[in-house]
C-alpha cells in the first residue's frame, strides 16, 4: 500500500537525517479533505496519508523552507512545479528530496458532495470504487466519474524527474485530449467568450486564495499589492476584477503545470483553469515548451529564438 511505503520512506529519510523536514499530506479535519503536514521527526511520520484527496500542490510551501533540506511528497504535476521553481532559482535543486508518487488522479470533492444526499461522514476507496458513508447510509460510486477534469487530461501522472518513487508507475494515458476546457471555450464567439469571463470574474471577492495556492505565485510584492505604481485599485468594480484575473493568469505563461490548485482554492467556484490551459497551449504551439518537464530548458518568456513566430507583427 502506497501510504505504508510512504511512511516507511519518510521514517528512513528522517532517521538518517537526510532531510530536516518532510512536507506531505495528513488527514484532514473533515472527510474528503487532506491537509498539508510538516513532519520533522521519524515518530511523526505516521501522520502522513495518501488518498485521492491529496489535491494540493505542496510545492507552494517550499519557498518558506528554503534554508532547509526538504523532502516533499509530489504527484506528477507538483514535481513539475518543483522543477520550474528550481529553474527560477527559488532554491538549489540539491536541497530538495522528491518523494514521488505516481498519481491515481484526484477526486473532485465538490462533485462528490453534490452526488451524495446528506452529509458525508466517511469515505473509503477500494480499487476503482469509492464507498461513501453518508447520513442516510452507504453509497458505492465509480471513481472515474468523479475525477477532476484536469486530472482526466493529465499526461504526466508519473513524476518526470528522478525521485524516490513510492508506489508503482502508472501508464500515461489521458482520458481526454490536452487542455479540454480551452479547446471547448475557443469554439465560442468573442462576445460569448467575454460574457463568460465577465460572468465568472464578477463573483470574485478578491480573497487571493488562487494566488496563495499557486506555487508559482511567489512575488514578494504582488502587482495587486503594489502602491507605486498602483496597477489596480482595491475595488470590486468589474473592470478591476477582470484586470486581476487577466494578469494573474498571464503571469503563469510558461510556468503553469495544470495542477488546478487555483481553481480548487476558490471559495466562489470561479473557473480559472480554462485561462491557464490556454496559455499552456499557446506556449506549446508557439515555443514547443512544456513546463517543468526538461530541467535544462529555460522558461519561454526569458529566452528567445531568432525564428519565433511573428506573422502578427506589421
Amino acid at each position: 500500500m502506497v501510504q505504508k511505503k510512504l511512511r516507511e520512506k519518510a521514517k528512513e529519510l528522517l532517521s538518517k537525517k537526510e532531510v530536516d523536514l518532510i512536507i506531505g499530506f495528513g488527514e484532514g479535519s473533515q472527510p474528503l479533505r487532506a491537509t498539508p503536514v510538516f513532519v520533522r521527526t521519524p515518530e511523526e511520520a505516521d501522520r502522513l496519508v495518501w488518498n485521492s484527496f491529496c489535491e494540493n500542490n505542496l510545492a507552494t510551501y517550499l519557498h518558506k523552507f528554503n534554508r532547509f533540506k526538504v523532502g516533499i511528497v509530489v504527484k506528477g504535476c507538483d514535481a513539475r512545479s518543483v522543477t520550474a521553481l528550481a529553474l527560477e532559482k527559488r532554491f538549489k535543486p540539491e536541497q530538495i528530496v522528491l518523494i514521488g508518487i505516481p498519481c491515481q488522479r484526484m477526486i473532485d470533492r465538490k462533485k462528490l458532495k453534490k452526488a451524495v444526499k446528506g452529509e458525508i461522514v466517511k469515505v473509503r476507496e477500494e480499487g476503482d470504487k469509492i464507498i461513501v458513508s453518508a447520513e442516510d447510509g452507504e453509497v458505492v460510486l465509480r471513481r472515474d466519474d468523479f475525477l477532476y477534469p484536469l486530472c482526466k487530461a493529465c499526461t504526466h501522472r508519473n513524476p518526470v524527474q528522478e525521485t524516490l518513487l513510492v508506489g508503482d508507475r502508472v501508464e500515461e494515458a489521458a482520458l481526454t485530449g490536452p487542455n479540454p476546457e480551452a479547446r471547448e471555450f475557443e469554439k465560442k464567439s468573442p462576445e460569448e467568450r467575454w460574457a463568460f469571463f465577465e460572468k465568472e470574474t464578477d463573483r470574485c471577492i478578491r480573497c487571493y486564495a488562487c494566488r496563495e495556492a499557486c506555487p508559482m505565485c511567489y512575488c514578494t510584492e504582488c502587482f495587486v499589492d503594489s502602491s507605486n505604481p498602483k496597477w489596480i485599485e482595491k475595488s470590486l468594480s468589474p473592470s478591476d476584477l477582470q484586470f486581476y484575473h487577466i494578469v494573474r493568469a498571464y503571469h503563469q505563461t510558461g510556468r503553469c503545470t495544470n495542477c488546478g490548485a487555483c481553481e480548487r482554492a476558490c471559495p466562489m467556484d470561479i473557473r480559472l483553469t480554462y485561462l491557464t490551459q490556454k496559455l499552456n497551449q499557446e506556449v506549446e504551439e508557439l515555443f514547443q515548451f512544456e513546463t517543468g518537464v526538461d530541467p535544462g530548458a529555460l522558461p519561454p518568456l526569458s529566452t528567445y529564438k531568432a525564428d519565433d513566430p511573428q506573422e502578427f507583427i506589421k
Binding site: 469571463f197 502587482f223 484586470f243 498571464y250 510558461g254 518568456l301 528567445y304 519565433d308 507583427i313 506589421k314
Partner: protein, 145 residues
C-alpha cells in the same frame, strides 16, 4: 450636433528605432492620422503587459507597440524577448474575447518614416472600424465626459 467619435490610440515606441521613425515621418512632413499619443520606451522588450492592460482599462481605444526590426535591437535581444511576450499576450486577449486589432504590433526602423505613417493610418482605420471598446474600460466618473 454629436461630435464624431475619434479613437484615442496609445503608441509605445522604442527609443532607438520606432521613435526615430516617427521623428523622420514628422521632419519629412508626412501626413498621418492624429489619433496616436506616443509614449517613448527604451525598448520594445520594456513593455510590460500591464502597460497595455492599464491603458485599455483607462479608456484608451487601441494600443500600438512598435520596436526595431529583429536583429536591429540596440540592446541586441530586447525585441526578441518582447516578441514572445507580445505573441502570448495578443493570443490570450483574443481568447478572452478582446477584439482582434485592439492591440497591435509593428516593426519600424529609424529610416522608415513612410512605414510609420502607414502603420499609424492602418491601426487608426482598424480601431475606427471596431469602435469604442464595449468591455473592460472603467466607467468615467464624471458625467458628460
Amino acid at each position: 450636433m454629436e461630435p464624431t467619435w475619434e479613437p484615442k490610440i496609445l503608441a509605445f515606441l522604442c527609443n532607438w528605432c520606432s521613435y526615430a521613425g516617427a521623428d523622420l515621418a514628422g521632419t519629412s512632413r508626412i501626413q498621418y492620422s492624429p489619433n496616436i499619443r506616443v509614449i517613448r520606451v527604451p525598448c520594445s522588450g520594456r513593455i510590460n503587459p500591464l502597460f497595455i492592460l492599464k491603458a485599455l482599462q483607462n479608456g484608451i481605444d487601441g494600443v500600438l507597440v512598435s520596436g526595431c526590426h529583429p536583429g536591429d535591437c540596440h540592446y541586441l535581444t530586447g525585441n526578441y524577448i518582447g516578441r514572445r511576450k507580445s505573441a502570448t499576450l495578443k493570443r490570450f486577449l483574443e481568447y478572452l474575447g478582446v477584439e482582434e486589432g485592439r492591440v497591435q504590433f509593428s516593426w519600424v526602423s529609424a529610416a522608415e518614416g513612410g512605414k510609420f505613417s502607414q502603420v499609424v493610418d492602418e491601426v487608426t482605420r482598424d480601431i475606427k472600424k471596431l469602435g469604442p471598446p464595449k468591455h473592460f474600460a472603467k466607467q468615467m466618473r464624471v458625467q458628460g465626459v
